[in-house]
Subunit: 272 residues, 2 copies
């Protein structure tokens, strides 16, 4: 697949090599293993969460490709693989692994390039179809919807948990249309293209850096805003135990209203 | 795409012609029209709901193909197109039109064949990829997950509405994992294959016959059960103003527990 490239900027070669490796490893994993095998928990990852076998298979392929291309990798299971480069790929090998392992074809490879600790470009690839969304910090071929208010907005959400049921419900009741696709990076790509208006973790603190790193570039360069519901800065960090409640929105105004709704519901009373 | 056909039964030719017409018309619509054009409401359909332009475009192509093949069509916008055949295709031209029009590639052509008023076979086609799920009343190559209880189940739901918020929440709180894909017929295909355990309209009475007709065959022949949350029979009917709250489940036991949860929450207190 050719990445459309209106400004003559070339994508990082290690990033493309990692994406290609992920697509092939994912295809191979689905061909060779059953859903039960793919969803089996193989270990606790460096990020402190259980890692499925499908994650291990794809991550191994990505690390091999990226380190062969001379860059570091920060990923959920192995953590920080430092080959001494100024360049690090912050990678989610299979975002939506529960989907992928079960046979729901909504899962993505997603990575952000960090150079000396600053995100510079990002790529999300839908593993089922090899469709790709790429942008640099300065240039994106995509444009968000431009929506500024939650009322009437199409908002994708992480599924609710008991710990954030109230905040989740406030967002669901205020928005115009709710979806739960269970694939954060695909949702973020849809915000970048304007297919949906926002994607949120409504305060469950589920997001790890690799779930939202690509969004900061893809959506930021497409006119949108990415922030944390509780105002924690989102940036390169090798401490993989950190968590965020990411808000990925078409505009800064929409992001701010979603943040207020999640924090305490104040916005829902004043703006809708 | 070849439909796998382990038992030597051939798919109805009018059904295949309608599906092919839908795939081409959908592709053509996305190439020629903007999201705003595709989602514009063109008329109130025969089913009493607003019809988007994308629905009109794809339905017209389906009706032309099916009637050329000599069968009747029952569809959301035009209603009952009777060419005097004993065979009727009950068609959802673009299930998930809101997804399709916005640029979220989760939308399906779905149809059930009714012969003298009895459903005999069904086909659902994912319009973005042309992946197909087909079965007859007697034979399916798919198998549901076999799950019998809501606790721990992967359940897809229609999005919540104020009128069914409580029942929706009971299901969401009891199930193991919730998704909202906004495409009923794709969800039903995932129940047939075992990728998810159930799909429900949690009592909002949103489902029209064409949203669940294919599921009765696809999921029924794959070991699952399809019923209405309020015990209304689901069958061929040319009155398109009828509505159901469909429950599409891996087993009859799981369907019954979901029905009880939606009706009054009794099951959640006794079985989980």
């Amino acid at each position: 697949m050719i990445i459309s490239n209106p400004v003559g900027v070339e994508a990082n070669k290690a990033l493309l090599a990692a994406a290609d490796a992920a697509v092939l490893a994912h295809r191979d994993a689905l061909a060779k293993h059953s859903p039960a095998e793919l969803s089996a928990i193989r270990m606790e990852g460096a990020d402190g969460t259980p890692t499925m076998f499908i994650d291990v298979l794809v991550e191994d392929a990505i690390i091999a490709a990226a380190t062969a291309a001379g860059v570091n990798v920060l990923s959920e299971e192995r953590g920080w693989v430092d080959v001494g480069s100024a360049v690090t790929l912050v990678v989610d090998p299979v975002d939506g692994s529960a989907n992928a392992a079960a046979g729901i074809p909504l899962a993505c490879f997603s990575a952000a390039v960090a150079i000396d600790g600053e995100f510079t470009e990002a790529l999300t690839v839908w593993l089922h179809t090899d469709e790709r969304w790429w942008a640099t910090r300065e240039h994106s071929e995509f444009r968000t919807s431009g929506r500024t208010t939650v009322a009437g907005a199409a908002v994708s959400m992480l599924r609710p948990h008991p710990r954030n049921w109230e905040a989740w419900s406030r967002v669901a009741e205020t928005a115009g249309r709710i979806r739960i696709l269970s694939c954060s990076t695909l949702d973020a790509a849809f915000v970048a293209t304007g297919a949906i208006d926002a994607f949120v973790d409504a305060g469950s603190d589920t997001h790890r850096l690799m779930d939202i790193a690509a969004a900061t570039i893809l959506v930021g360069a497409s006119g949108g805003a990415v922030l944390d519901a509780f105002d924690r800065p989102i940036g390169f960090d090798t401490d993989l135990t950190r968590r965020w409640s990411g808000i990925v929105a078409a505009t800064a105004e929409l992001a701010a209203e979603l943040r207020a709704l999640i924090q305490d519901g104040a916005a829902s009373r004043t703006t809708t």
